[in-house]
């Protein structure tokens, strides 16, 4: 191939990359832009800059439904993050530190939730909870409200597939841990608990932080599973979806801006933690 055609090819490649990133960015930039347009609809023409849709009487912070949705999302995501980190850590220790019959099958089953479409996971948990409720009512004559669609089911549904993610991330980190350090600490007189709290968990911290952030965001943004299990208290994504179907308003753009900012900050923290951790790892080699 001639020098010239190589250059042309490289140029085309570069141009493609520019277009690609434009394709990625444009929808988000436009959503953000129209949150500041002084017009009742998120559409052109541009009518001047305003913060009305954030701070005004009809702004996000005055919209009770959205604020309630935010609160619900926040509490569900916190709960899901806590559970996923807890169980994910236990799973990591089980898979990385123990050998037992059936480990391979169990590992496969642990991965399975990633292969089940979210909608199907949602409806199957819905059916099962219904069966359970009916069963309890049939046998014991007690009406159990707790397993009706609602926040408990939403939390469990999200937990069911996000735990796989935290398990994978924490296991990967645990696998890299030099077990000799634990033996050394044990040899120096530390108890198992002391070794765990002074060495192993501090080592896992970066993985716990970044998988915690991932779990939080996945929960916060989940729609498919949540949509099937939601009751009267709706998380933010569901509220937004309903509003969107009723018609777009700049308030929705304002909420989107807040969501973009929040995820940006969380991702930045996660990347920072990973980077610091990476540098430390390289250093100690």
């Amino acid at each position: 191939m001639s020098q010239r055609s190589v250059k042309v090819l490289a140029g085309i490649h570069k141009l493609y990359i520019v277009f690609f990133f434009a394709y990625l960015a444009i929808p988000l930039i436009l959503v953000a832009l129209f949150a500041f347009n002084d017009a009742p609809y998120p559409a052109l023409p541009w009518r001047g800059f305003t913060l009305e849709w954030f701070l005004g009487n009809k702004g996000v912070f005055q919209d009770e439904r959205l604020m309630d949705g935010l609160k619900v999302s926040f509490s569900v995501a916190s709960m899901v993050t806590f559970l996923c980190l807890l169980i994910g850590t236990l799973n990591a220790f089980l898979f990385e530190r123990r050998s037992f019959p059936g480990k391979g099958i169990l590992y496969f089953l642990m991965l399975a939730p990633l292969v089940v479409p979210g909608v199907i996971l949602g409806v199957s948990i819905l059916i099962f909870s219904h069966t359970l409720t009916n069963g309890i009512e049939g046998f014991l004559g007690i009406e159990t409200e707790i397993l009706r669609p609602g926040l408990l089911l939403v939390t469990l549904g999200q937990f069911a597939f996000i735990t796989t993610v935290t398990t994978l991330v924490i296991s990967a980190r645990l696998r890299k841990f030099d077990r000799m350090q634990e033996e050394a600490a044990f040899d120096l007189g530390a108890s198992h608990l002391h070794v765990l709290t002074t060495l192993t968990l501090p080592y896992l911290k970066p993985a716990l932080i970044s998988s915690g952030i991932v779990a939080f965001l996945m929960s916060f943004e989940n729609f498919n599973t949540t949509f099937m299990l939601v009751g009267s208290d709706a998380p933010l994504t569901i509220t937004l979806f309903d509003s969107l179907r009723q018609g777009a308003t700049p308030v929705l753009n304002a909420v989107s801006v807040l969501l973009i900012l929040a995820s940006g900050v969380l991702v930045a923290i996660s990347l920072f933690v990973q980077k610091v951790d990476y540098i430390l790892d390289e250093h100690s080699k």
């Binding site: 044990f186 040899d187 100690s284």
Partner: protein, 372 residues
């Protein structure tokens, strides 16, 4: 007399593999005891049993008259310097050394007193606040030792701690370790596959092979009178022949080697005609001569060609190729170590030169094959 450590017929199997079988030895207090053996000989398993990371199937470990059966590693009066050191990278030097004391719930004041003191002893007085990755290889080594010493263990276990260092530092640390041990008086139990480390540092060495102890003794004893072919070959260099005793001729016995050589060795009353024996001669015990005049008085003497010369500074190693006796087609490389002195004609033998090599029957070492 109480010993720092007694191992009483220790055995350990992993499945069908017998890692350690029936090992017994004692270590007296304040000594530098090495366990020497090739990889896979069971020395690491032995160390792990002493430190408590694995339980022996049979036998007992007694430290200062106290049986260690059922006692977990964190409660044993021994501490270990790990092969890869296993320093805690997220902690400072001070925190690393204080770790064990904190586990014992020692007061803060006492901790800093003890840590400062031990840092002084290992020559790292100013390094307490440093991070582990700021230290050199030798400094890390000393931190790993200090971390154990601060707990005043009855025995310090060292699992090939010099393996990760480069050659120069390793030579230096050998001397350092030996000095440190003499100065502290703590009993050291040192594990290594490197015979030169063991010879330099130890007061006693146990040589292990396939889960058993071959010989225990001082470095001098092991070097000069190995009790088995394995020890003779593993500790120090040796020229080796294997053959059969064909006849007695006082004060010698005549040995016919497999390659067709006839060698003379000192008579011993345990020998019988027909015994299979190994003959070992240290390279520095070899004699060499070149030129017209045949050497006389050499009991064993061969003609050969110098095939290569290796200059080592203080000494010079010659590799001499000798042909088999009675026109056989065998040939054998013999190693001859000579002091490399200025103006010493014999030491300047270039490769390709025809020489006579030999040795005195007194300086060879004869062991019966298959007898311990």
């Amino acid at each position: 007399m109480t010993f720092a450590l007694e191992c009483r017929s220790l055995s350990k199997r992993f499945g069908s593999f017998s890692a350690v079988s029936d090992v017994s030895f004692t270590i007296s207090e304040g000594s530098f005891f090495s366990i020497l053996g090739p990889s896979g000989c069971g020395k690491t398993t032995l160390l792990r049993m002493i430190s408590g990371f694995c339980e022996p199937d049979k036998g007992d470990i007694v430290i200062h008259s106290r049986s260690m059966r059922g006692i977990l590693p964190n409660a044993r009066p021994v501490n270990m310097v790990f092969q890869q050191l296993a320093l805690f990278p997220m902690m400072t030097v001070f925190e690393n050394i204080a770790y064990g004391l904190r586990c014992r719930k020692v007061s803060k004041k006492k901790i800093s007193f003890h840590v400062e003191e031990v840092l002084n002893r290992v020559g790292l007085a100013q390094s307490g606040s440093k991070k582990i990755d700021q230290l050199s290889g030798g400094q890390k080594q000393r931190v790993a030792i200090a971390r154990c010493l601060v707990l005043e263990p009855k025995i310090l276990l060292l699992d090939e701690p010099l393996g990760a260092l480069d050659l120069k530092l390793r030579e230096h640390m050998k001397i350092e370790l030996k000095k440190l041990q003499t100065q502290l008086g703590t009993t050291f139990l040192y594990i290594t596959h490197d015979q030169s480390e063991a010879l330099v540092m130890s007061s006693h060495i146990a040589v292990m092979k396939e889960g058993r102890i071959e010989q225990i003794g001082t470095p001098q004893a092991l070097y000069q009178s190995p009790k088995s072919s394995f020890v003779a070959q593993f500790v120090g260099d040796n020229n080796h022949w294997r053959g059969k005793i064909v006849q007695f001729c006082e004060p010698y016995v005549e040995v016919q080697t497999e390659e067709g050589w006839k060698l003379k060795a000192l008579y011993s009353s345990s020998f019988q005609v027909g015994d299979r024996v190994d003959i070992f001669v240290r390279p520095e015990a070899m004699l060499v001569k070149s030129g017209e005049k045949k050497p006389n008085g050499w009991v064993n003497c061969f003609e050969g060609l110098v095939s290569s010369v290796v200059f080592n500074g203080g000494t010079r190693d010659l590799w001499v190729n000798v042909r088999g006796g009675n026109g056989s087609s065998f040939s054998k490389e013999l190693k001859v170590t000579l002091p490399a002195q200025k103006g010493d004609g014999e030491a300047c033998l270039p490769s390709g030169r025809a020489v006579e090599v030999g040795w005195d029957a007194l300086s060879s070492h004869v062991l019966k094959v298959g007898v311990k």
